[in-house]
Subunit: 341 residues, 2 copies
């Protein structure tokens, strides 16, 4: 995965539902200064509220890449989207995609890239040779977001933690493990697309040795309680060797999303299992807090839920969107009590 | 992964150490009736004690495939090995390899395959589209071999269990998850070479719904306590949804092989963690026994060790090579006590 060329122009294609443009909104919200405009097909109605730029105009304005900021069911790239991508490549932009279809599978795009000199970048592709994990402890601090399920705020929480660490004067780097995160960071490894033997090694590569007071904030993937993806999660935990985990949870879920036969674990069980797993490569790991996606709760419900959890677990309980994550960051930056022998 | 064409002629190349021909010995020992001979380069000195056949002679004798039965450091296929492979292909044999280098990366082999009509089969390659795991319980019984570490007898134990189940009159199928296992079974999926998101799905595909009294005996991979490969193991556990696990262990190991900084878990901790993990997709899972690789112990040491473990864990303790695994099979075939509520 090469480093992405910023700034970006976001391609919103022909989507008509904001929820199909989550990647675009994420880029606007988390790397806004790197996004100079948006571009869509005539049928598209979703806007990020950014200047509308044709690919050629974006090139003139200094864009480095046109980034596909939408997702469609199945992850296939429709042929109707090709003309603006060709235009971008013809004007020297890179085209960046998180879709399943490889960009290079379209001869039109390969030819345009050759003409204009831009690159076709599939952020899900991991063509580089990866090492296997070593399990050897490396310097620097690491915090990993983990969850009771997939798709409940692990990326958002990691980005919020990075921002709050910076605001608190700490040195911190967001480490991306999924496609949108990679586009935001400009680099990273899509760990779920890595060959299984190399997941822990990829995680080690992603958060290399660093200064003792530097924090890598690693975007979690999957969940240990997910019948399809738990292996990805475990490899990411072992390779990240986190000093701290932050547990993400959505109280409106009773079962794993799309797996109604698989109940969610209790928060206590989840914390125990994550710490137990992480201890293999970092015996000092602790849980620094709980990040709740409380969009299903009104304010009184949230406050009651928050105090109940804070009392039960004696750890900061935040909703990154409602309260920010400063309380968790305080916990991360607190000098560590010596481990009981 | 296509089904392999038996019978085999085993290619032993130029190796001079029996330990480099472990795959060849495994094939001889576990699918002997499917192996009609061996073939080596003039410099090679290792023999399986089978008739020496040139590839052309093997073809005349009815072989379906020439199987590379040796491994070399790094997993690269040396150019010096190509002539007999070309000869095999020219006479219509398939060539089967578990090396990292893809056979199709050698133009000589591609051309010879086109001439002779044979196939180039890389058993580590998983080009087929795999599903993600569903976690939905399927009929049929499954037993999975698991370990305190890698490379201590999980494949051997699974093969021995399959044989002993057959001898006890049970219906059972060995399900291969690694390269040698796949060559023995003639089919399977190398789960460590699967993209991480699909490991559990691959394991579901590998041991599909079956008759209620049929046993799939699934070859384990990796170890939950391995800093590089635990994710593969967890995905395999969840997809296999085993009714029983058999824990494999080598008492001469104190630390994970090649990871002197990572201690082995205790047997009790290992059983607990494996059962805890497996309960996600099969709450009724139990540990049916312990399979010891006791090659480091003399007979009195083994007997003392065996009785100590049997007393401590109240489960059959076997060494597949020393004692066979009938005691574990008896445990598997016993009607299950109802689960305590």
């Amino acid at each position: 995965m090469p480093t992405l060329r910023k700034p970006y122009v976001i391609f919103l294609a022909d989507v008509t539902l904001a929820s199909d443009a989550k990647t675009g909104f994420g880029l606007r919200d988390w790397c806004g200064p790197d996004v100079i405009g948006e571009c869509r097909l005539p049928q598209g109605t979703v806007s990020l509220g950014l200047p509308a730029l044709r690919p050629q105009e974006a090139a003139v304005a200094g864009a480095g890449s046109l980034v596909i900021g939408v997702a469609v069911v199945g992850g296939q790239l429709p042929h109707a989207w090709l003309p603006p991508l060709v235009e971008a490549l013809d004007h020297g932009l890179d085209v960046v995609s998180g879709m399943h279809t490889r960009l290079a599978s379209f001869p039109e795009l390969v030819k345009a890239a050759a003409r204009g000199g831009g690159r076709l970048v599939d952020v899900r592709a991991t063509d580089r040779v990866l090492p296997t994990g070593t399990g050897i402890k490396r310097p620097g601090k690491r915090v990993l977001t983990v969850g009771t399920d997939c798709a409940l705020g692990k990326k958002y929480t990691a980005l919020a933690l990075t921002r709050a660490l910076h605001a608190a004067g700490a040195r911190a780097t967001f480490r991306a493990t999924g496609q949108t995160g990679i586009m935001i960071a400009g680099k990273g490894i899509a760990v779920d697309a890595v060959v299984a033997d190399f997941v822990a090694g990829a995680a080690e590569l992603l958060s290399p040795a660093n200064d003792p007071d530097h924090w890598d904030v690693i975007e979690g993937q999957g969940a240990l309680f997910h019948p399809a993806y738990a292996g990805v999660t475990l490899g990411l935990i072992h390779g990240s060797q986190p000093d701290a985990i932050v547990l993400c949870h959505d109280p409106s879920r009773q079962t794993i999303e799309d797996y109604p036969h698989v109940p969610l674990p209790s928060l206590g069980a989840a914390i125990d299992r994550y710490l137990e797993s992480a201890q293999l490569t970092n015996p000092d790991v602790r849980c620094a807090g709980i990040a709740i996606n409380s969009s299903s709760l009104d304010e009184p419900e949230w406050l009651a839920y928050q105090s109940r959890l804070a009392a039960e677990f004696d750890r900061p309980v935040c909703d990154p969107m409602r309260t920010g994550v400063d309380a968790i960051v305080q916990q991360l930056l607190q000098p560590r009590r010596p481990r009981p022998q």
